[in-house]
Amino acid sequence: MSLAPSAAAANPPANAVVSAAAVDWRSSPPAADYTVDELMIVALSECFVDGDQACNGMASFIPVTAFQLALRTHAPDLVWLAGAVGLDPKPDRVPASTLEAPLWRNSVMYVEQYGDFWTFALNGRWLQKFCVGAAQLDKFGNGNNSVIGADYHRPRVRLPGTAGLGDMGSIGKQLYYWNPNHNPRAIVDRVDFVSCAGWLGGGDERQALGLTGGPELVITNLCVMDFEPTSRHMRLKSLHPGISVEQVQAATGFEVLVPPGAIALTRVPTEHEVHLIRHVIDPDGMRLREFGK
């Protein structure tokens, strides 16, 4: 038995791997052959920074690839809770499911869901950003995964259900919507049913209910949109290279706000980012499943 300090306490090591990755990321030139999945992943990745905790749910290839990209580039201290279960996992590669055990291989902690995960999520200090995939999303950032049709009890289409979105929209999270198939049936004037609270009816309606947080960005295969701070109406933030304002409008079920002046272009992935996505993080191309491939 020893009364002396352990080696791990005495010798905090430099984190050499992280430093090397950071250098590569900063100096790498824009990629010539990136694809839109990679562009969306890079855009989402930029939203997650050191000090954040990120988690993901089902069928979330773009978020889990984005988190791993952030960890390998600008946000080495990002905390990732894979599948809302595995803390800081080391998966071999993005697997065929983002809610099965291969994603959270080699975790530091298995977070029990009922008591622990939801305590962390409700607390308000952790997991303050959440990525949302919704079947319907409206101009005020409300999400719908419940029903299509006017009557909840007589749905035209039964969607999967709100799962954790019905919580995440109401408990102060910054919401990041992603949609790889920007079309007027998915991005609509008003959702048929609010199963994830966004800016509700716009303006200060969300705030009046005592809710903090709210929708921040919408990242699609055409553009990035945010919400105008007063009206809380969806607004074009940047166009993906090669996409026009008209294409965005035609693919949207309402008139998107367009800020005056030149519209920014979404940043193109660097060669290093493309390399990481294609060859290190998701060599099997699971992210393409979100595009129906």
């Binding site: 099965e100 419940s146 954790g164 109401s170």
Partner: protein, 297 residues
């Protein structure tokens, strides 16, 4: 130390009656008590309600077999294998009524049921349309003058169906280290009866080696049955992965009424026992592949 709860699957499932509200462990493609669910279908239960967190293929099989008339849950999805089409059609035909809850609201309803409290509060769901359509949720002012909460009425399922890695004959239930979802963490504690299938029945002394892995005490459990590979075709980490092939075969069959009936006959009602079922889904060689988490179509 306690009463013997070990029995056969056929005997155990007679504890479920027509009309019962049945809580089923299952997270999309994970950890469903499929051996128990298939027996429910074989025994022809009707008018069942289901409580699930995120229900997958067991919900679709029960819907396809006409066993269900209501569901309380947060979602129904087979993730990469898509929506549960037979369930969806039955809901759209108004044959199944859905009480859709967020995860914290479902947890609160079950937590209140488990603790004999009339309700538990959440701050989820505020602002959504899910409160107004549900008599089991109501806004409640904070008696201390803080923000209001959503009071979630206690939910007590008639029976919970659980699958585990090992159990003893007294119903002490052990789980290997892996994800621990609320459908194991709270659902069985809320239910009036608990029926457990185990990959393996072991002597109690085996459980004593890892008392931290025992998740349900025998006194909570009404019946325990041994069903090796009892979660197939869902995954049961760390022992085995989900069966991609059988999920795909089901999603294909589910498009068509005749193919659905043939599938149910071949895989659900036809096999007389777990051994026959395992033969029909590929036997020992396929189980070995799933044990290696191979994605086999």
């Amino acid at each position: 130390m306690a009463q013997v709860k070990l029995t056969s699957v056929a005997e155990a499932m007679t504890m479920v009656g027509d009309g019962d509200l049945v809580a089923i462990q299952n997270m999309a493609t994970q950890a469903a008590p499929m051996g128990l669910v298939r027996e429910l279908v074989r025994q022809g239960r009707r008018d069942l309600g289901v409580v699930c967190l995120v229900g997958g293929i067991p919900i679709d099989w029960l819907a396809a077999a006409g066993c269900l008339n209501r569901l309380i849950g947060a979602a129904v999805s087979m993730e990469q294998f898509g929506l549960c089409q037979r369930y969806r059609k039955a809901v759209e035909a108004q044959q199944i009524r859905v009480e859709e809850l967020s995860e914290t609201a479902l947890n609160a309803r079950l937590g209140a049921g488990a603790r004999n409290l009339p309700f538990l509060p959440t701050r989820g769901l505020i602002g959504t349309d899910l409160i107004a359509i549900n008599d089991n949720l109501v806004m409640l002012d904070d008696p201390f003058g803080g923000p209001p909460v959503v009071a979630c009425r206690a939910l007590v399922p008639d029976v919970a169906l659980i699958h585990c890695h090992r159990a003893d004959r007294y119903g002490n239930v052990q789980y290997e280290p892996t994800a621990l979802w609320p459908d194991l963490g709270i659902m069985p504690k809320a239910a009036t009866r608990v029926i457990v299938s185990a990959e393996e029945i072991v002597d109690t002394d085996v459980l004593r080696r890892n008392p931290d892995r025992t998740v349900l005490p025998g006194f909570m459990v009404d019946a325990v049955v041994e069903i090796p590979w009892g979660a197939h075709p869902t995954s049961f980490n760390p022992k085995y992965g989900y069966d991609t092939g059988l999920h795909l075969a089901w999603t294909k069959a589910a498009r068509d009424d005749d193919a659905t009936a043939a599938f149910l006959e071949r895989y659900v009602t036809g096999p007389a026992n777990q051994a026959e079922y395992l033969d029909r889904v590929g036997g020992a060689s396929r189980m070995a592949a799933l044990q290696r988490w191979e994605i086999t179509t």
